[in-house]
């Protein structure tokens, strides 16, 4: 089981702030493809890879990163701190 966490407009459009899933995906991009097939909300949210960022176990990473060791994967728009 992996925890998926969503922030900002991604959380709003998917309609939840987190969920636990089982997946056969081995990378972030595979996971995204799997989610997109699940529901139109995911395919809309994840349609533009340039519009969001991803973190594995609270660390920023790339879309081709392995999720084998992932306990927590977060999706969010570019950060706007400060």
């Amino acid at each position: 089981m992996i925890d998926l966490i969503y922030f900002s407009w991604i959380r709003e459009r998917i309609g939840k702030s987190s969920e636990s899933i089982e997946t056969r995906a081995t990378t972030i991009i595979e996971l995204i493809e799997e989610l997109k097939k699940k529901d139109v909300r995911y395919s809309e949210v994840f349609s533009d890879l340039g519009s969001f960022r991803v973190a594995i176990n609270q660390e920023l990473t790339n879309f081709d990163a392995s999720i084998i060791e992932a306990k927590e994967i977060a999706f969010f728009p570019p950060m706007t701190g400060g």
């Binding site: 922030f7 609270q58 706007t80 701190g81 400060g82």
Partner: protein, 147 residues
């Protein structure tokens, strides 16, 4: 190193006072305070700041540690709020203390550039019940390349 991620209001001048009173033999103190722009019920009713508990603290700590590695500074402070903020309220602040002004200024700007694009906060502006997520400015990511 002093880092606080909090929903509570903070008094900027008291925080600076606190921070600087503990320091010895410094020559330069730089502070930056980010404030919610706009006037209530004209530009903005309020701002909502969301963050990623856990990752926020870790990321800020990494950014501050990198700042200490890159510049000869004596101490640094970061306070960042989340939750509901009214126009005119402080959002966040950084303070840097060093022997010389160049280091203090650069360290503060470096902290700001990285907090802006690498600390997991997201801002929503609410006016007349309508919320708008603030997008990252195109220059924000580019600002990192100067360091």
């Amino acid at each position: 190193m002093h880092i606080s991620v909090q929903s509570e209001f903070f008094d900027f001048s008291k925080e600076v006072e606190n921070f600087s009173s503990k320091l010895d033999n410094i020559g330069a103190l730089v502070t930056f305070t980010g404030i919610v722009r706009g006037q209530k019920s004209k530009n903005l009713d309020y701002m909502l700041i969301e963050h990623y508990p856990g990752m926020t603290e870790t990321q800020i700590k990494l950014i501050v540690e990198e700042t200490f590695k890159r510049w000869k500074i004596c101490d640094a402070l970061v306070i960042h709020r989340y939750g509901k903020l009214e126009p005119g309220e402080p959002i966040m602040m950084v303070a840097t203390a060093a022997q010389h002004r160049k280091e203090a200024f650069e360290a503060a700007e470096y902290l700001m550039d990285y907090l802006k694009s690498r600390a997991p906060f997201w801002k929503k502006e609410v006016l007349n019940g309508e919320g708008n997520w603030v997008g990252a400015a195109s220059g924000d990511e580019a600002a990192l390349s100067r360091w």
